[in-house]
Symmetry: C2
C-alpha cells in the first residue's frame, strides 16, 4: 500500500510519526555532507605511491625524451598508450594533458567561440545564437560551462540506454545547434551507460551545423562498482565510418582513479580536430606536466594496471552505495514517494522524489544539518522543471556518517511528501 | 679601425679571408642549435629531488587540507607564501597555478576577449579594434598570443631602463589600447631590467581605457648570472597608491628554476582582478595540481631556498654566457659590424648586426649547420623593421659545442657584413 492510498486517518498518524522523527533528527545537531563527488581518504591512499614517483633516476619517456624539459604538446607516449588501450582507441588519436579534462573542454569551446573550430564557417561568437544539447539530468559543471558562454541549453531526456536519440536527431536539424554534452558511461548523476546503438546513432546522424561537436566525456569509463567493466566503444571510428570524422571530442582522465586534481587528462579525436586544438594549445602554453605523466605511467604499468586500481576503488565504494540503497529501500520502499537509481558504477545515486518537493527535501535536510546538493543542480541553470531530482554523493563520508545522513534524508523525503499531501 | 674604414684593397683581403673561414666552417658539417631557451641537463639535475617529492607520507598543506583531493582554486598557501616573500608581495594577492604562467596570460586575455574583464565596458571582441603595446625587441610567445586574438600590436623601443615611457604615455591616450607586455627583470631578449622610476611611471600613468592591463611577466625575477639579485618592486602597491589598483596582471613561475614544464606558476594582482579571474577559472576547472605545489614548497623550504637554487644555476650558466661574450669580443670587437648585450641575468644575449643583414646571418648559419632563432623573432609578426636583431640562447648546448657555434656565428656576421659592403 503506497502513501497515496492511505486514508486520511492513517496518513495523519503517519505524518505525526514522520514529524516526530524529523524533530528527533534535528535535535541531534548533525553536521553531515552528501554534496561532494569527491573520493574519500581511503581511496586517495590507494595511489600514495605516486607521491614519490617517477623517482629520482627516471626522467626519460618511451621516445627517449627528457620529461624534465620543455616540449611535447601531445603528452608522452607512455601514458597515451595506456589510455588508448584502455579506451580501445588508436594512440595517435589520444593526447595527454594536465590534471583536468574539464579544462580541455572549456578550451575547445572557448576557442570555437573566439576563432571557430576546424569546420566552422565563422567563430561561434559571431553566430548570434549558439544552442547546445543537454541530456538531463546531467553534470552541473558541463551546464555551467556552456552557460558561461551564453549558449542556449536545450534539454533532452535521458532514457535507459542514453539520451533520447529521436529528440536529438530533431534538434540537430537546426544549424545553430553546435554541440552536445554526453557522459556515455555511468553518467553523472543517473549511472546510465549509453548502448552501442545510441553511440552509433550519435556518430551517424546528419547535423545542419558542419562544426557540430559531441563532447564525449568518458569520465567514469572504468569507475565500476562491481568487478565488471563496461564495453568501450571506439566512437571516433564509428564517426569516421559514418562520414563524420570530426564529430567527437572524446575526454577522459585519471580523476577519481589516482589523486583528484593532480592527475592526467586525455583528449582523443580525429587528426584534424587534434591539429586544430594543438595549433592553439601551442599558443596558450608549452605543453603538459610530463613528469606527472611519467609518474602515472609507472604507477599503472599498463591498462590492466588501471583496472586493478579500479577494483580496489570498487571494494571501498560498493559497500557505501549498498548501504545507501538498503536505507532507501527500507525507509522509502513501498510508499511510492521516491524512486532512485541502482548504479553499477560512477559516483552518484540519482533520487527522484514527488514532483514539486525536491527543493523542500533539501531545505529540510539543511535545517537538520545534512548538506545535500541543491535541488535542480543536474539541470541547466539549476532549473529542474519538475523540482524532483536530488543527486546523492555517497563516496566521501565514512559509512557510519553516511548511514546517519541517509536515514535523515529518508525522513526529509517522507516529511516533504506528507506536507505535499496536505497531512 | 672599423670595417667601414677599410680601404677597398684591405676590405677585399678581409672578405677573402672571411669567405675562406666560412667555407671551412661549412666543410665541418656541423649540426648545432642556438635557438632554444631551454635549461641544460646539468641544470635540470639540480632539481631531481622533486622527482620523489612530496613523499609518501606528506599530503597536508599549511592549512591542513589534503592536497590529494579536489579544491582550492587559489593554490596552497605553502608555495604562495614562498613566492610572495620572494616577490615582496602580500600573499593574499598571489595565486599559485599549474606549470606555465603563459597559460594564465592566455586565459586572462581570452576571457577579457570573450566576456570583458572586471573593468570592461564590453567584451574586447566587441571593441572593433584592440591595440596592444609591445616593447621591442621582446618575447616571441607574447606577440604570438596577442596575434592569435587579432590585436594590433604597436611597438615602443626598449631603452636602458625599460620601455620608452613617453611613447607609452602617448599610446595609452587611445581607448582602444587595452594592454601592454612587460618583462621587467632581465627581459627577453635584451636582459634589460626596468628601473623603479619606469615601474612607477607605468603604475601611475592615466589611460583612456578603464580596463587597460599591463602583463607584468616577471619570468626572470631571480634568474641572475651573478651572485646578486635585482631589487623587486611591488608594482601592485605602486598601482594601488597611484589610484589604478587593477593595472597589473603580475606573472611569475618556477620555470627554469626547477623542471621546465612541470613547475608552478603564479598570478598576482588586486583582489578585484583575482576575484574576476577565479570566477571564470572556477568554470574552467577544479583547481591546480596541489601535490606538485606541495612538492615544490618542500623542495625550496623558503624564499632563500629559491635563491640558493638560482645561485647554482648561475654557476652553470655564467661560464656559458662568458664564453659567448669572449668569442663575440675577440671575433667581432672593433669592426663595428655588430653590438650585443652583456646581460646579468635571464636566458638570452641579444645581438644586433648591420641593418638589413640579420636574416642573411641566420641563413648563412643555417647553411653551415648552425640553427639560430629566426631573424625578427623578437618582434610582432616576426617583423624586425631594421632586419638587425638576432636572439642567442646559450643555455642548452655544452660549452664545447657553444664555442664552435658562436665562432661560426661570428664568421657569418662578418660575411654578411662584407657582402653588404659589396666586397
Amino acid at each position: 500500500m503506497t502513501l497515496l492510498d492511505f486514508d486520511s486517518e492513517r496518513l495523519s498518524e503517519f505524518a505525526a510519526q514522520v514529524r516526530a522523527d524529523y524533530d528527533e533528527l534535528k535535535a541531534r545537531n548533525l553536521k553531515l555532507n552528501l554534496t561532494r563527488g569527491k573520493p574519500s581518504s581511503e581511496q586517495l591512499d590507494l595511489a600514495d605511491e605516486l607521491l614519490e614517483l617517477p623517482g629520482r633516476d627516471d626522467h626519460l619517456d618511451a621516445d627517449g625524451a627528457d620529461v624534465r624539459n620543455y616540449g611535447n604538446l601531445k603528452g608522452i607516449r607512455d601514458i597515451r598508450q595506456i589510455w588508448a588501450e584502455l579506451l580501445g582507441l588508436d594512440v595517435e588519436h589520444v593526447l595527454a594533458g594536465d590534471s583536468s579534462s574539464l579544462n580541455i573542454m572549456f578550451d575547445l569551446i572557448s576557442w570555437s567561440y573566439a576563432f571557430g573550430n576546424n569546420d566552422s564557417e565563422r567563430p561561434w561568437k559571431d553566430e548570434g545564437t549558439v544552442k547546445w544539447i543537454c541530456p538531463v539530468p546531467g553534470y552541473d559543471r558541463h551546464f555551467t560551462l556552456t552557460g558561461q558562454f551564453g549558449f542556449e541549453m536545450v534539454t533532452v531526456p535521458m532514457l535507459e540506454d542514453g539520451p533520447d536519440l529521436d529528440a536529438v536527431r530533431e534538434l540537430v536539424k537546426d544549424p545553430q545547434v553546435k554541440g552536445m554534452w554526453a557522459v556515455p558511461v555511468f553518467a553523472n548523476p543517473t549511472g546510465i551507460t549509453f548502448s552501442e546503438e545510441v553511440a552509433r546513432g550519435l556518430a551517424g546522424m546528419e547535423t545542419a551545423a558542419p562544426d557540430f561537436r559531441i563532447v564525449w566525456d568518458n569520465a567514469y569509463v572504468v569507475h565500476t562498482l562491481t568487478n565488471e567493466f563496461p564495453p568501450v566503444h571506439n566512437v571516433i571510428r564509428f564517426a569516421e565510418e559514418a562520414g563524420h570524422p570530426n564529430r567527437f571530442w572524446y575526454m577522459s582522465s585519471t580523476s577519481k582513479i589516482t589523486h583528484a586534481g593532480s592527475g592526467v587528462s586525455f583528449f582523443a579525436s580525429s587528426k584534424a580536430n587534434l591539429d586544430w586544438y594543438l595549433s592553439i594549445a601551442g599558443v596558450r602554453g608549452i605543453g603538459p606536466n610530463k613528469v606527472n605523466q611519467l609518474a602515472h605511467a609507472k604507477y599503472f604499468g599498463d591498462a590492466e594496471g588501471v583496472r586493478a586500481v579500479m577494483r580496489k576503488h570498487a571494494g571501498v565504494l560498493a559497500p557505501k552505495f549498498n548501504r545507501v540503497l538498503e536505507i532507501l529501500d527500507s525507509r522509502l520502499g513501498g510508499y511510492e514517494v521516491a524512486s532512485w537509481t541502482r548504479p553499477e558504477g560512477g559516483y552518484f545515486i540519482s533520487l527522484d522524489v514527488i514532483d514539486g518537493t525536491a527543493s523542500r527535501v533539501v531545505e529540510l535536510a539543511k535545517e537538520a544539518g545534512i548538506a545535500l546538493t541543491g535541488a535542480g543542480s543536474s539541470f541547466p541553470h539549476k532549473d529542474d522543471p519538475n523540482n524532483r531530482n536530488i543527486r546523492l554523493a555517497p563516496t566521501l563520508p565514512p559509512v557510519d556518517e553516511l548511514e546517519v545522513a541517509m536515514d535523515g534524508v529518508a525522513t526529509c523525503v517522507l516529511l516533504a511528501a506528507v506536507e505535499k499531501l496536505g497531512a
